[in-house]
């Protein structure tokens, strides 16, 4: 890692650290089947209760710190997605949620971009179809730097240890 990359990473960590105590989330459905939204909605249930972690949903993008995007970024939603992102004040975080948003379900064609990061820059990717509320909570905590990523160390080879 070069000195510039290291400084950029430090700056990014600092920016994420700013969100450590309270964070407002705006969701955006860019053409998903609504199962991701169903799981996102469960985060507000008494069982997961994301408010205890300082996360709150807000309907107003101008009040939001984080944009939670699901769906494969259909082209019809592209202007709304860009406008929503521009309405979020800086610094802001974009989290792509679900297999569609990560570009693994739909291929690019005249109707759909096929992945969210083809339209807007994405900071954190949360895989799953749909990602469970626990996976979403983990993704949010990774996004604000309160938990470390662990997927790099996972090998998915049971012949050895699962982690490197």
């Amino acid at each position: 890692m070069s000195e510039e990359q290291r400084l950029a990473a430090q700056l990014q960590d600092r920016a994420f650290g700013l969100f450590g105590r309270s964070l407002h989330i705006r969701t955006f459905d860019s053409g998903s089947c609504a199962v991701c939204e169903s799981e996102i909605r469960l985060l507000s249930s008494p069982y997961y209760d994301l408010h205890r972690l300082g996360f709150f949903f807000t309907p107003a993008p101008r009040h939001a710190d984080l944009l939670l995007v699901s769906g494969p970024a259909v082209r019809a939603a592209e202007p709304a997605l860009r406008k929503t992102l521009e309405a979020l004040p800086e610094p802001r975080i974009v989290v792509a949620v679900g297999a569609c948003a990560l570009g693994a379900v739909f291929t690019e064609d005249e109707l759909v971009h096929g992945r969210v990061d083809a339209v807007i820059p994405v900071d954190v990717y949360v895989p799953g179809c749909p990602p469970s509320p626990l996976a979403l909570l983990y993704g949010l905590l990774v996004a604000v730097g309160r938990l470390e990523e662990k997927v790099q160390a996972l090998r998915f080879d049971l012949g050895e240890e699962l982690t490197a």
Partner: protein
């Protein structure tokens, strides 16, 4: 008074995650993990063909798993038998999309 407090205590349903592991995590469908030494090229091809999300493919002597597309449907477990098991991992969020692509070496023969 003690009964009241006990009722309050037993009534807490909120998950302690991430401070403590969540008991429901064990019930979650999770992506597959593989016994590399039991994988063969032929089995890798069959696994790739069985994956409805096209998240498995063979690349030379590696089986490539894209966690970003895996729907945890379990069809690879049916096809792969003892070579495949659920990983139990749901904490997969990352800032690097490429980190979700895993290469599992095919340890068996053809």
């Amino acid at each position: 008074m003690l009964w009241f407090l006990r009722g309050i205590r037993r009534g807490v349903v909120t998950s302690r995650y991430p401070a403590r592991p969540d008991p429901s995590a064990a019930q979650l469908p999770t992506p597959p993990a593989f016994h590399a030494d039991r994988l063969t090229v032929e089995l890798a091809e069959r696994l790739a063909a069985a994956c409805p999300a096209r998240s498995l493919r063979r690349d030379g002597r590696d089986l490539v798993l894209d966690l970003g597309g895996c729907t945890c449907c379990g069809r690879c477990s049916v096809v792969g038998g003892e070579a495949v098991a659920a990983s139990g991992e749901f904490e997969l969020a990352t800032r690097d999309r490429g980190a979700l692509v895993k290469r599992i070496p095919i340890g068996g023969g053809w």
